[in-house]
């Protein structure tokens, strides 16, 4: 996402997480089912206000990518949170200056 933007302009945010996204439908060569282990939700907050949320299911590809937009209303911090199975949680932040 851009580091600065004009007030009320629409900015595009690309967020990606490094995660295998084990679907739970794959088998090992010996026939054992590999259990599901995926990221379940992605949340984006803008100065602590939630502006976007996504639910992921096993159908999402590995290293999930999500591209979405938001309106640059004020200078501040955007926080991106990924929460998944087995206690997976990843948080990332980005700062934006709005003029």
């Amino acid at each position: 996402m851009p580091a600065s933007a004009k007030k009320d302009s629409i900015i595009e945010i690309r967020a990606i997480a490094q995660h295998d996204m084990e679907s739970g439908f794959r088998y090992t060569e010996s026939g054992k089912l590999i259990p599901r282990d995926i990221i379940r939700t992605f949340t984006c907050t803008y100065n602590n206000v939630e502006v976007f949320k996504a639910d992921f299911y096993p159908g999402i590809g590995a290293n999930p990518l999500i591209i979405f937009t938001t309106v640059a209303i004020e200078t501040g911090t955007l926080e991106f949170t990924w929460v998944g199975d087995d206690g997976y949680e990843a948080v990332n932040q980005a700062h934006i200056t709005v003029s």
């Binding site: 299911y57 096993p58 999930p64 999500i66 979405f68």
Partner: protein, 158 residues
Amino acid sequence: MKKETQYHRRHWLKQVQGLGLIAFGFCVNPLNVFAKKADADEAIRKITGGAVIKDGKVTLTIPPLVENGNLVVLKVSVDSPMTANDYVKAIYVIAEGNPLPNIFTAYLTPRSGTANITTRVRLADSQTVWAIAQMSNGSFWKGSAETLVTLSACTELV
């Protein structure tokens, strides 16, 4: 005595053959394919609660021919002003041919600016994928895209 034994063996073999044919019939059962579409319809019904879904406003873009079903770029675009009074509340993406119909759900707000979402999904088979958009006024709109998948995402061995 010998003739009788031969007759019994032949009879038994015929029965096994019959059973084999029935078993084969179960494998190549078209009902298998329809079951997945029914799952998709059921998932859509759960989302809308049986409400009418109108065609339009939603554009779902996926490549018409996919080499590898493991990473398919999928883009959903919903035509909406995205104002506080009229915006897209949620976009649900449902695949007709995957073992699980729901692929992902995106929740938007008036602060989203646009209702354009791009992500990468797994597709098991050549199929139709649906995108259902829920508007702030409670209406549902749908769009779909069909694709041919060469290498399925769900069948690889580790």
